[in-house]
Symmetry: C2
Subunit: 244 residues, 2 copies
DNA sequence: CGCATCCTTGATACTTTTCAAGCAATGTGG
DNA sequence: CCACATTGCTTGAAAAGTATCAAGGATGCG
Protein backbone atom coordinates (compact mmCIF):
# COMPACT_ATOMS: atom_id res chain seq x y z
CA UNK A 1 0.00 0.00 0.00
CA UNK A 2 1.55 3.26 -1.06
CA UNK A 3 1.52 6.23 1.23
CA UNK A 4 -0.67 8.10 -1.25
CA UNK A 5 -3.33 5.47 -0.92
CA UNK A 6 -3.17 5.72 2.84
CA UNK A 7 -3.56 9.44 2.93
CA UNK A 8 -5.85 11.40 0.69
CA UNK A 9 -4.14 14.55 1.94
CA UNK A 10 -0.87 13.41 0.49
CA UNK A 11 -2.59 12.54 -2.72
CA UNK A 12 -4.19 15.97 -2.87
CA UNK A 13 -1.02 17.90 -2.17
CA UNK A 14 0.94 15.77 -4.59
CA UNK A 15 -1.30 16.95 -7.39
CA UNK A 16 0.13 20.40 -6.97
CA UNK A 17 3.53 19.99 -5.43
CA UNK A 18 6.20 17.37 -5.88
CA UNK A 19 6.88 16.40 -2.30
CA UNK A 20 10.33 15.28 -1.26
CA UNK A 21 11.03 12.17 0.77
CA UNK A 22 11.64 14.30 3.83
CA UNK A 23 8.37 16.11 3.37
CA UNK A 24 6.50 12.89 2.89
CA UNK A 25 8.04 11.60 6.09
CA UNK A 26 6.92 14.66 8.01
CA UNK A 27 3.44 14.30 6.60
CA UNK A 28 3.34 10.65 7.52
CA UNK A 29 4.32 11.55 11.06
CA UNK A 30 1.35 13.89 11.30
CA UNK A 31 -0.87 10.91 10.58
CA UNK A 32 0.23 8.85 13.55
CA UNK A 33 -2.55 9.49 16.02
CA UNK A 34 -5.49 7.80 14.35
CA UNK A 35 -8.95 8.24 15.74
CA UNK A 36 -12.49 7.42 14.76
CA UNK A 37 -15.75 9.26 15.35
CA UNK A 38 -19.26 8.00 14.92
CA UNK A 39 -21.79 9.55 12.60
CA UNK A 40 -24.09 12.17 14.01
CA UNK A 41 -22.31 13.06 17.20
CA UNK A 42 -20.55 16.42 17.07
CA UNK A 43 -16.77 16.27 17.26
CA UNK A 44 -16.56 19.91 18.24
CA UNK A 45 -19.44 21.95 19.47
CA UNK A 46 -20.10 25.62 18.91
CA UNK A 47 -18.31 27.61 21.57
CA UNK A 48 -16.14 24.74 22.74
CA UNK A 49 -12.49 25.56 22.70
CA UNK A 50 -10.83 22.29 21.81
CA UNK A 51 -7.55 23.20 20.24
CA UNK A 52 -7.23 20.08 18.15
CA UNK A 53 -6.98 19.75 14.42
CA UNK A 54 -7.64 16.65 12.36
CA UNK A 55 -6.75 15.36 8.96
CA UNK A 56 -9.75 13.52 7.62
CA UNK A 57 -8.79 10.22 6.03
CA UNK A 58 -12.16 8.65 5.40
CA UNK A 59 -15.75 9.71 5.66
CA UNK A 60 -17.48 13.08 5.48
CA UNK A 61 -17.86 15.85 8.03
CA UNK A 62 -19.80 19.09 7.90
CA UNK A 63 -19.19 22.33 9.76
CA UNK A 64 -22.24 24.35 10.63
CA UNK A 65 -23.76 27.02 12.79
CA UNK A 66 -27.02 26.71 14.68
CA UNK A 67 -29.11 29.82 15.07
CA UNK A 68 -31.14 30.79 18.10
CA UNK A 69 -34.35 29.90 16.25
CA UNK A 70 -33.10 26.37 15.65
CA UNK A 71 -32.42 26.58 11.94
CA UNK A 72 -28.97 25.57 10.91
CA UNK A 73 -26.65 26.60 8.14
CA UNK A 74 -23.97 24.25 6.94
CA UNK A 75 -20.92 26.30 6.07
CA UNK A 76 -18.65 23.71 4.54
CA UNK A 77 -18.00 20.03 4.13
CA UNK A 78 -14.81 18.18 4.79
CA UNK A 79 -14.03 15.20 2.64
CA UNK A 80 -11.03 12.86 2.78
CA UNK A 81 -7.81 14.81 2.53
CA UNK A 82 -9.21 17.91 4.13
CA UNK A 83 -8.03 19.55 7.31
CA UNK A 84 -10.56 20.13 10.01
CA UNK A 85 -10.18 22.69 12.72
CA UNK A 86 -6.94 24.06 11.35
CA UNK A 87 -7.99 27.63 11.94
CA UNK A 88 -9.17 26.91 15.44
CA UNK A 89 -5.73 25.59 16.26
CA UNK A 90 -3.79 28.44 14.80
CA UNK A 91 -6.12 31.17 15.90
CA UNK A 92 -8.60 29.66 18.35
CA UNK A 93 -11.70 31.02 16.70
CA UNK A 94 -13.89 28.03 16.13
CA UNK A 95 -17.36 29.32 16.66
CA UNK A 96 -19.05 26.56 14.75
CA UNK A 97 -19.69 22.87 15.19
CA UNK A 98 -18.38 19.83 13.37
CA UNK A 99 -20.56 16.83 12.76
CA UNK A 100 -19.43 13.58 11.16
CA UNK A 101 -21.99 12.62 8.54
CA UNK A 102 -20.86 9.02 8.53
CA UNK A 103 -18.43 7.17 10.74
CA UNK A 104 -15.08 8.70 10.04
CA UNK A 105 -11.40 8.10 10.45
CA UNK A 106 -9.12 10.99 11.12
CA UNK A 107 -5.61 11.70 12.28
CA UNK A 108 -5.41 13.93 15.29
CA UNK A 109 -2.82 16.63 14.93
CA UNK A 110 -1.35 18.31 17.96
CA UNK A 111 -0.65 21.99 17.68
CA UNK A 112 2.99 21.54 18.58
CA UNK A 113 3.52 18.78 16.05
CA UNK A 114 1.97 20.92 13.38
CA UNK A 115 4.09 23.94 14.19
CA UNK A 116 7.17 21.79 14.29
CA UNK A 117 6.31 20.29 10.92
CA UNK A 118 5.85 23.75 9.51
CA UNK A 119 9.19 24.85 10.87
CA UNK A 120 10.98 21.83 9.48
CA UNK A 121 9.49 21.95 6.01
CA UNK A 122 8.43 25.39 4.91
CA UNK A 123 7.36 24.16 1.51
CA UNK A 124 4.95 21.80 3.19
CA UNK A 125 3.64 24.62 5.34
CA UNK A 126 3.00 26.65 2.25
CA UNK A 127 1.22 23.77 0.61
CA UNK A 128 -1.03 23.22 3.59
CA UNK A 129 -1.81 26.89 3.98
CA UNK A 130 -2.56 26.99 0.29
CA UNK A 131 -5.08 24.21 0.78
CA UNK A 132 -6.59 26.16 3.64
CA UNK A 133 -6.96 29.25 1.50
CA UNK A 134 -8.65 27.13 -1.12
CA UNK A 135 -11.17 26.13 1.52
CA UNK A 136 -11.79 29.76 2.25
CA UNK A 137 -12.33 30.48 -1.41
CA UNK A 138 -14.97 27.77 -1.34
CA UNK A 139 -16.76 29.45 1.54
CA UNK A 140 -16.79 32.68 -0.42
CA UNK A 141 -18.10 30.91 -3.49
CA UNK A 142 -20.74 29.34 -1.29
CA UNK A 143 -21.76 32.79 -0.12
CA UNK A 144 -22.04 34.00 -3.69
CA UNK A 145 -24.12 30.98 -4.58
CA UNK A 146 -26.63 31.47 -1.82
CA UNK A 147 -26.82 35.18 -2.44
CA UNK A 148 -27.05 35.25 -6.18
CA UNK A 149 -28.05 31.91 -7.68
CA UNK A 150 -31.50 30.41 -7.86
CA UNK A 151 -32.19 27.02 -6.34
CA UNK A 152 -31.41 24.97 -9.44
CA UNK A 153 -28.13 26.67 -10.17
CA UNK A 154 -27.19 26.49 -6.51
CA UNK A 155 -27.71 22.75 -6.42
CA UNK A 156 -25.92 22.21 -9.70
CA UNK A 157 -22.99 24.29 -8.59
CA UNK A 158 -22.75 22.49 -5.30
CA UNK A 159 -22.71 19.06 -6.89
CA UNK A 160 -20.10 20.12 -9.41
CA UNK A 161 -17.86 21.56 -6.75
CA UNK A 162 -18.18 18.47 -4.63
CA UNK A 163 -17.34 16.33 -7.63
CA UNK A 164 -14.19 18.32 -8.31
CA UNK A 165 -13.05 18.08 -4.73
CA UNK A 166 -13.59 14.36 -4.60
CA UNK A 167 -11.89 13.82 -7.93
CA UNK A 168 -8.75 15.34 -6.42
CA UNK A 169 -8.54 12.55 -3.90
CA UNK A 170 -9.59 9.84 -6.30
CA UNK A 171 -13.11 9.14 -5.13
CA UNK A 172 -15.05 10.93 -7.83
CA UNK A 173 -14.99 11.83 -11.50
CA UNK A 174 -17.03 13.54 -14.18
CA UNK A 175 -19.20 10.44 -14.19
CA UNK A 176 -20.30 10.89 -10.59
CA UNK A 177 -19.47 9.97 -7.01
CA UNK A 178 -20.81 8.32 -3.89
CA UNK A 179 -22.44 10.80 -1.55
CA UNK A 180 -23.77 10.09 1.94
CA UNK A 181 -25.64 13.36 2.31
CA UNK A 182 -29.36 13.46 2.93
CA UNK A 183 -31.68 15.98 1.37
CA UNK A 184 -31.76 17.67 4.74
CA UNK A 185 -28.03 18.21 4.55
CA UNK A 186 -28.45 19.73 1.13
CA UNK A 187 -31.22 21.98 2.39
CA UNK A 188 -29.15 23.24 5.31
CA UNK A 189 -26.23 23.80 2.98
CA UNK A 190 -28.03 25.64 0.22
CA UNK A 191 -30.38 27.69 2.35
CA UNK A 192 -33.46 25.90 1.02
CA UNK A 193 -36.23 23.87 2.57
CA UNK A 194 -35.88 20.11 2.39
CA UNK A 195 -39.07 19.92 0.37
CA UNK A 196 -37.74 22.25 -2.22
CA UNK A 197 -34.46 20.37 -2.40
CA UNK A 198 -36.46 17.35 -3.36
CA UNK A 199 -38.22 19.19 -6.15
CA UNK A 200 -35.02 20.68 -7.45
CA UNK A 201 -33.38 17.29 -7.56
CA UNK A 202 -36.33 15.90 -9.42
CA UNK A 203 -36.14 18.65 -11.97
CA UNK A 204 -32.43 18.20 -12.55
CA UNK A 205 -33.04 14.50 -12.95
CA UNK A 206 -35.90 14.97 -15.39
CA UNK A 207 -33.83 17.45 -17.39
CA UNK A 208 -31.31 14.68 -17.88
CA UNK A 209 -28.55 16.62 -16.15
CA UNK A 210 -27.78 14.77 -12.96
CA UNK A 211 -29.26 12.11 -10.70
CA UNK A 212 -28.81 11.93 -6.95
CA UNK A 213 -30.26 8.72 -5.65
CA UNK A 214 -29.44 6.00 -3.17
CA UNK A 215 -26.30 7.72 -2.01
CA UNK A 216 -24.88 8.21 -5.45
CA UNK A 217 -24.56 11.23 -7.70
CA UNK A 218 -24.47 10.52 -11.42
CA UNK A 219 -23.67 13.23 -13.91
CA UNK A 220 -25.60 12.60 -17.11
CA UNK A 221 -24.72 15.82 -18.89
CA UNK A 222 -21.69 17.37 -17.26
CA UNK A 223 -21.44 20.20 -19.76
CA UNK A 224 -25.09 21.09 -19.43
CA UNK A 225 -24.76 21.19 -15.68
CA UNK A 226 -21.72 23.44 -15.89
CA UNK A 227 -23.70 25.78 -18.07
CA UNK A 228 -26.72 25.83 -15.79
CA UNK A 229 -24.58 26.51 -12.74
CA UNK A 230 -22.25 28.88 -14.54
CA UNK A 231 -19.59 26.79 -12.88
CA UNK A 232 -16.14 28.24 -13.26
CA UNK A 233 -13.66 26.08 -11.47
CA UNK A 234 -11.00 28.79 -11.42
CA UNK A 235 -11.30 29.11 -7.66
CA UNK A 236 -10.50 25.43 -7.28
CA UNK A 237 -7.94 24.91 -9.99
CA UNK A 238 -5.40 27.37 -8.84
CA UNK A 239 -1.98 26.46 -9.92
CA UNK A 240 -0.95 25.60 -6.43
CA UNK A 241 1.19 27.41 -3.98
CA UNK A 242 3.82 28.59 -6.45
CA UNK A 243 6.73 27.04 -4.68
CA UNK A 244 10.12 28.50 -5.31
CA UNK B 1 -1.92 63.94 17.35
CA UNK B 2 -1.52 60.60 18.99
CA UNK B 3 -0.59 57.59 16.95
CA UNK B 4 -3.94 56.01 17.82
CA UNK B 5 -5.77 58.84 16.18
CA UNK B 6 -3.62 58.49 13.09
CA UNK B 7 -4.23 54.81 12.67
CA UNK B 8 -7.56 53.12 13.27
CA UNK B 9 -5.73 49.80 13.07
CA UNK B 10 -3.66 50.69 16.09
CA UNK B 11 -6.75 51.80 17.87
CA UNK B 12 -8.49 48.56 17.05
CA UNK B 13 -5.65 46.32 18.12
CA UNK B 14 -5.11 48.34 21.28
CA UNK B 15 -8.60 47.46 22.40
CA UNK B 16 -7.51 43.88 22.74
CA UNK B 17 -3.79 43.93 23.31
CA UNK B 18 -1.58 46.31 25.18
CA UNK B 19 1.02 47.10 22.57
CA UNK B 20 4.57 47.89 23.60
CA UNK B 21 6.54 50.85 22.35
CA UNK B 22 8.50 48.58 20.05
CA UNK B 23 5.35 47.08 18.62
CA UNK B 24 3.82 50.48 18.08
CA UNK B 25 6.95 51.52 16.26
CA UNK B 26 6.78 48.51 13.96
CA UNK B 27 3.14 49.21 13.27
CA UNK B 28 3.89 52.83 12.54
CA UNK B 29 6.56 51.75 10.09
CA UNK B 30 3.98 49.67 8.21
CA UNK B 31 1.99 52.87 7.68
CA UNK B 32 4.73 54.73 5.83
CA UNK B 33 3.66 54.27 2.23
CA UNK B 34 0.45 56.27 2.09
CA UNK B 35 -1.72 56.10 -0.97
CA UNK B 36 -5.13 57.28 -2.04
CA UNK B 37 -7.72 55.72 -4.35
CA UNK B 38 -10.76 57.32 -5.87
CA UNK B 39 -14.28 56.07 -5.32
CA UNK B 40 -15.68 53.61 -7.80
CA UNK B 41 -12.54 52.48 -9.55
CA UNK B 42 -11.43 48.99 -8.59
CA UNK B 43 -8.18 48.78 -6.70
CA UNK B 44 -7.78 45.12 -7.49
CA UNK B 45 -9.70 43.31 -10.13
CA UNK B 46 -10.89 39.73 -10.10
CA UNK B 47 -8.13 37.51 -11.42
CA UNK B 48 -5.43 40.15 -11.17
CA UNK B 49 -2.47 39.01 -9.19
CA UNK B 50 -1.28 42.13 -7.46
CA UNK B 51 0.52 40.97 -4.37
CA UNK B 52 -0.05 44.09 -2.33
CA UNK B 53 -1.85 44.51 0.94
CA UNK B 54 -3.22 47.72 2.37
CA UNK B 55 -4.21 49.02 5.74
CA UNK B 56 -7.26 51.17 5.29
CA UNK B 57 -7.00 54.43 7.22
CA UNK B 58 -10.02 56.30 5.97
CA UNK B 59 -12.99 55.55 3.76
CA UNK B 60 -14.84 52.38 2.91
CA UNK B 61 -14.05 49.57 0.49
CA UNK B 62 -16.01 46.51 -0.52
CA UNK B 63 -14.78 43.19 -1.85
CA UNK B 64 -17.06 41.43 -4.26
CA UNK B 65 -17.40 38.85 -6.97
CA UNK B 66 -19.07 39.40 -10.30
CA UNK B 67 -20.89 36.48 -11.84
CA UNK B 68 -21.05 35.61 -15.52
CA UNK B 69 -24.65 36.83 -15.65
CA UNK B 70 -23.62 40.23 -14.41
CA UNK B 71 -25.05 40.05 -10.90
CA UNK B 72 -22.64 40.80 -8.16
CA UNK B 73 -22.28 39.64 -4.60
CA UNK B 74 -20.47 41.77 -2.09
CA UNK B 75 -18.57 39.48 0.24
CA UNK B 76 -17.28 41.90 2.81
CA UNK B 77 -16.62 45.52 3.60
CA UNK B 78 -13.43 47.07 4.81
CA UNK B 79 -13.69 50.03 7.12
CA UNK B 80 -10.89 52.09 8.67
CA UNK B 81 -8.49 49.88 10.58
CA UNK B 82 -9.09 46.85 8.40
CA UNK B 83 -6.53 45.01 6.33
CA UNK B 84 -7.24 44.57 2.69
CA UNK B 85 -5.70 41.91 0.54
CA UNK B 86 -3.85 40.29 3.40
CA UNK B 87 -4.73 36.82 2.23
CA UNK B 88 -3.74 37.56 -1.32
CA UNK B 89 -0.31 38.53 -0.10
CA UNK B 90 0.24 35.55 2.10
CA UNK B 91 -1.35 33.03 -0.19
CA UNK B 92 -1.89 34.74 -3.54
CA UNK B 93 -5.51 33.78 -3.91
CA UNK B 94 -7.36 36.97 -4.56
CA UNK B 95 -10.15 35.88 -6.83
CA UNK B 96 -12.35 38.82 -6.06
CA UNK B 97 -12.31 42.54 -6.70
CA UNK B 98 -11.92 45.49 -4.37
CA UNK B 99 -13.82 48.70 -4.95
CA UNK B 100 -13.45 51.88 -2.92
CA UNK B 101 -16.92 53.13 -2.09
CA UNK B 102 -15.65 56.62 -1.38
CA UNK B 103 -12.26 58.17 -1.90
CA UNK B 104 -9.97 56.38 0.49
CA UNK B 105 -6.61 56.63 2.14
CA UNK B 106 -4.60 53.51 2.74
CA UNK B 107 -1.11 52.46 3.65
CA UNK B 108 0.49 50.12 1.18
CA UNK B 109 2.21 47.20 2.84
CA UNK B 110 4.94 45.31 1.07
CA UNK B 111 5.04 41.59 1.59
CA UNK B 112 8.59 41.68 2.82
CA UNK B 113 7.92 44.47 5.30
CA UNK B 114 5.00 42.55 6.65
CA UNK B 115 6.92 39.32 7.04
CA UNK B 116 9.75 41.19 8.69
CA UNK B 117 7.35 42.87 11.08
CA UNK B 118 5.90 39.50 11.94
CA UNK B 119 9.31 38.07 12.59
CA UNK B 120 10.33 40.98 14.81
CA UNK B 121 7.20 41.10 16.90
CA UNK B 122 5.40 37.79 17.19
CA UNK B 123 2.76 39.24 19.48
CA UNK B 124 1.90 41.74 16.81
CA UNK B 125 1.72 38.98 14.24
CA UNK B 126 -0.69 37.11 16.44
CA UNK B 127 -2.81 40.19 16.90
CA UNK B 128 -3.01 40.84 13.18
CA UNK B 129 -3.79 37.26 12.36
CA UNK B 130 -6.43 37.32 15.03
CA UNK B 131 -8.01 40.31 13.33
CA UNK B 132 -7.89 38.42 10.05
CA UNK B 133 -9.61 35.44 11.57
CA UNK B 134 -12.26 37.76 12.90
CA UNK B 135 -12.86 38.91 9.35
CA UNK B 136 -13.30 35.32 8.32
CA UNK B 137 -15.80 34.76 11.08
CA UNK B 138 -17.72 37.68 9.66
CA UNK B 139 -17.83 36.10 6.24
CA UNK B 140 -19.19 32.93 7.80
CA UNK B 141 -21.79 34.90 9.70
CA UNK B 142 -22.67 36.63 6.47
CA UNK B 143 -23.18 33.26 4.84
CA UNK B 144 -25.46 32.17 7.66
CA UNK B 145 -27.42 35.38 7.37
CA UNK B 146 -28.06 35.04 3.67
CA UNK B 147 -28.88 31.38 4.00
CA UNK B 148 -31.12 31.43 7.01
CA UNK B 149 -32.45 34.88 7.84
CA UNK B 150 -35.32 36.68 6.17
CA UNK B 151 -34.78 40.06 4.59
CA UNK B 152 -35.62 42.13 7.68
CA UNK B 153 -33.41 40.17 10.02
CA UNK B 154 -30.63 40.19 7.45
CA UNK B 155 -30.69 43.95 7.18
CA UNK B 156 -30.93 44.42 10.92
CA UNK B 157 -28.04 42.06 11.51
CA UNK B 158 -25.92 43.74 8.92
CA UNK B 159 -26.44 47.20 10.34
CA UNK B 160 -25.70 45.98 13.85
CA UNK B 161 -22.51 44.28 12.79
CA UNK B 162 -21.38 47.33 10.91
CA UNK B 163 -22.11 49.49 13.95
CA UNK B 164 -20.00 47.24 16.15
CA UNK B 165 -17.10 47.28 13.76
CA UNK B 166 -17.16 51.03 13.45
CA UNK B 167 -17.49 51.53 17.18
CA UNK B 168 -14.19 49.68 17.58
CA UNK B 169 -12.41 52.38 15.64
CA UNK B 170 -14.33 55.24 17.15
CA UNK B 171 -16.59 56.22 14.29
CA UNK B 172 -19.82 54.66 15.46
CA UNK B 173 -21.84 53.86 18.56
CA UNK B 174 -25.13 52.42 19.68
CA UNK B 175 -26.67 55.69 18.59
CA UNK B 176 -25.72 55.25 14.95
CA UNK B 177 -22.98 55.97 12.41
CA UNK B 178 -22.30 57.65 9.10
CA UNK B 179 -22.62 55.28 6.20
CA UNK B 180 -21.77 55.99 2.56
CA UNK B 181 -23.45 52.88 1.17
CA UNK B 182 -26.25 53.10 -1.35
CA UNK B 183 -29.25 50.83 -1.35
CA UNK B 184 -27.63 49.05 -4.28
CA UNK B 185 -24.65 48.21 -2.11
CA UNK B 186 -26.98 46.83 0.51
CA UNK B 187 -28.82 44.79 -2.10
CA UNK B 188 -25.61 43.27 -3.47
CA UNK B 189 -24.47 42.52 0.05
CA UNK B 190 -27.62 40.94 1.36
CA UNK B 191 -28.60 39.02 -1.74
CA UNK B 192 -31.74 41.09 -2.24
CA UNK B 193 -33.07 43.31 -5.00
CA UNK B 194 -32.58 47.02 -4.58
CA UNK B 195 -36.32 47.51 -4.60
CA UNK B 196 -36.78 45.16 -1.73
CA UNK B 197 -33.99 46.79 0.22
CA UNK B 198 -35.93 49.98 -0.01
CA UNK B 199 -39.06 48.34 1.36
CA UNK B 200 -37.20 46.64 4.16
CA UNK B 201 -35.59 49.90 5.22
CA UNK B 202 -38.94 51.56 5.20
CA UNK B 203 -40.41 48.89 7.39
CA UNK B 204 -37.57 49.04 9.90
CA UNK B 205 -37.99 52.79 9.99
CA UNK B 206 -41.73 52.63 10.48
CA UNK B 207 -41.29 50.04 13.23
CA UNK B 208 -39.20 52.59 15.06
CA UNK B 209 -36.11 50.38 15.05
CA UNK B 210 -33.58 52.08 12.82
CA UNK B 211 -33.39 54.79 10.18
CA UNK B 212 -30.97 54.84 7.27
CA UNK B 213 -31.22 58.12 5.47
CA UNK B 214 -28.95 60.69 3.89
CA UNK B 215 -25.85 58.68 4.55
CA UNK B 216 -26.54 58.17 8.20
CA UNK B 217 -27.76 55.19 10.20
CA UNK B 218 -29.61 56.00 13.41
CA UNK B 219 -30.53 53.28 15.87
CA UNK B 220 -33.83 54.16 17.55
CA UNK B 221 -34.30 50.92 19.43
CA UNK B 222 -31.02 49.07 19.68
CA UNK B 223 -32.40 46.31 21.85
CA UNK B 224 -35.35 45.72 19.58
CA UNK B 225 -33.07 45.49 16.59
CA UNK B 226 -30.82 42.99 18.36
CA UNK B 227 -33.87 40.89 19.09
CA UNK B 228 -35.18 41.03 15.54
CA UNK B 229 -31.80 40.11 14.09
CA UNK B 230 -31.02 37.58 16.80
CA UNK B 231 -27.73 39.39 16.87
CA UNK B 232 -25.18 37.65 19.03
CA UNK B 233 -21.95 39.53 18.91
CA UNK B 234 -19.92 36.61 20.25
CA UNK B 235 -18.17 36.22 16.93
CA UNK B 236 -16.98 39.80 17.12
CA UNK B 237 -16.28 40.17 20.81
CA UNK B 238 -13.77 37.45 21.18
CA UNK B 239 -11.42 38.10 23.98
CA UNK B 240 -8.61 38.75 21.61
CA UNK B 241 -5.65 36.66 20.66
CA UNK B 242 -4.91 35.29 24.12
CA UNK B 243 -1.40 36.56 24.29
CA UNK B 244 0.96 34.82 26.63
C1' DC C 1 -43.88 -5.55 14.52
C1' DG C 2 -43.40 -0.78 15.35
C1' DC C 3 -40.72 3.15 15.28
C1' DA C 4 -37.60 6.30 13.07
C1' DT C 5 -35.52 8.32 9.17
C1' DC C 6 -35.63 9.72 4.69
C1' DC C 7 -37.88 10.57 0.38
C1' DT C 8 -41.89 12.14 -2.35
C1' DT C 9 -45.93 14.75 -3.84
C1' DG C 10 -49.88 18.15 -3.73
C1' DA C 11 -52.10 22.38 -2.25
C1' DT C 12 -51.69 26.74 -0.39
C1' DA C 13 -49.55 30.87 1.39
C1' DC C 14 -45.96 33.90 1.74
C1' DT C 15 -41.66 36.34 0.51
C1' DT C 16 -39.17 38.45 -2.79
C1' DT C 17 -38.41 39.72 -7.62
C1' DT C 18 -39.41 41.98 -11.75
C1' DC C 19 -41.39 45.55 -14.39
C1' DA C 20 -42.84 50.15 -14.65
C1' DA C 21 -43.08 54.72 -13.35
C1' DG C 22 -42.08 58.99 -11.01
C1' DC C 23 -39.41 62.15 -8.00
C1' DA C 24 -35.35 64.66 -6.13
C1' DA C 25 -30.67 65.95 -6.23
C1' DT C 26 -26.51 66.56 -8.75
C1' DG C 27 -23.54 67.59 -12.44
C1' DT C 28 -22.38 68.91 -17.29
C1' DG C 29 -22.02 71.12 -21.67
C1' DG C 30 -24.08 74.52 -24.56
C1' DC D 1 -28.69 79.81 -16.81
C1' DC D 2 -30.98 76.05 -18.92
C1' DA D 3 -31.72 71.43 -21.04
C1' DC D 4 -30.33 67.08 -20.20
C1' DA D 5 -28.41 62.92 -18.41
C1' DT D 6 -27.28 60.37 -14.35
C1' DT D 7 -27.76 58.47 -9.90
C1' DG D 8 -30.27 57.21 -6.00
C1' DC D 9 -34.67 56.75 -3.71
C1' DT D 10 -39.64 55.55 -3.64
C1' DT D 11 -43.96 53.26 -4.67
C1' DG D 12 -47.46 50.08 -6.96
C1' DA D 13 -48.95 45.95 -9.36
C1' DA D 14 -48.05 41.55 -11.13
C1' DA D 15 -45.27 37.44 -11.44
C1' DA D 16 -42.08 34.14 -9.89
C1' DG D 17 -39.76 31.42 -6.60
C1' DT D 18 -39.76 29.19 -2.41
C1' DA D 19 -41.69 27.87 2.14
C1' DT D 20 -45.04 25.70 4.83
C1' DC D 21 -48.49 22.37 5.88
C1' DA D 22 -50.12 17.90 5.27
C1' DA D 23 -49.97 13.27 4.04
C1' DG D 24 -48.23 8.95 2.40
C1' DG D 25 -44.60 5.57 0.90
C1' DA D 26 -40.20 3.26 1.42
C1' DT D 27 -36.52 1.43 4.01
C1' DG D 28 -33.89 -0.13 7.85
C1' DC D 29 -33.46 -1.54 12.51
C1' DG D 30 -34.19 -2.89 17.48
Amino acid sequence: MTVEAQSPLIRKLSTFVALSEAELAVLARLHRRRRTFVAGRDMVHQGQSGQLAYILSSGWVCSYKIQPDGTRQIVDFQVPGDFLGLRSVLLRTSDHSFEPIVDIEAAEVLTDDLLEAFAQTPRLATAILWAASRDEAMVVEHLVGIGRRDADARMAHFLLELGSRLALVGIGSKEGFDCPLTQYHLADTLGLSAVHVNRVLRQLRESGLVTFRDGHVTFHDYGGLVELAEFDSAYLDQSGPLLK
